[in-house]
């Protein structure tokens, strides 16, 4: 089955939700993940970067 077009959803004051046809690479170009949904940290505080670990809920991240 063909995957749907990739979609990025900005969750209010929270992470970036990624679904659809994508591949996530690290800075060296190595594959980290390609199956969604994936939640990427936007607040800068996760201890599991680049993924969200809900740290945004404990701080005062807005965006």
């Amino acid at each position: 089955m063909r995957l749907q077009q990739a979609q990025f959803r900005i969750l209010k004051d929270g992470p970036l939700e990624v679904t659809g046809n994508f591949v996530i690479l690290d800075a060296r170009g190595e594959e980290i993940e390609k199956e969604g949904p994936v939640y990427l940290c936007r607040c800068g505080g996760s201890r599991n970067k680049p993924f969200c670990d809900d740290t945004h809920k404990t701080g005062n991240f807005s965006g």
Partner: protein, 168 residues
Amino acid sequence: MDDPRNRQYTNGEITVFWEPSKCIHATTCFRELLEVFNPGRRPWVNMEGASSRKIIEVVNKCPTQALTWKYNSDLSREEQESVSQKNGTKDEVTPETLTETEEQSRPVSIKIMRNGPIIVEGEFRIIGPEGNELKTLRMTSFCRCGNSGRMPFCDGTHRKIGFTDHNG
């Protein structure tokens, strides 16, 4: 033969030359200096966004010489004349529009930059916090440091605040 898509941008001191046919989307320019090189804007090069010294530093990192520069005092007569004709326009080609012919079935590339943003390339949609669709782009960079002034996109703030991938 001179490509009609070529552009020149000047701040009065230096001129930056943009040759889209040489671009391989290394994205170095806007990862390093989004204040000047921003494919989401028209014109996509803003010569007032940083000092000449900083612009030169980033242009020199372009791996294909799609971006080059000269001091205005070193411009030939032809180059001086063409600066006024070829400066930025609304319909100019940017590193982003260049990828429009790519197949839709290709997975979107999401690159996590070290101590920096998330660079996305390909065919994708962005949905905002209120469920509204934001501008559809072929290439963009999302903030990962939490401090951008133009959320959800990167504005280079991560460098100013010293954001790192170090956990904790």
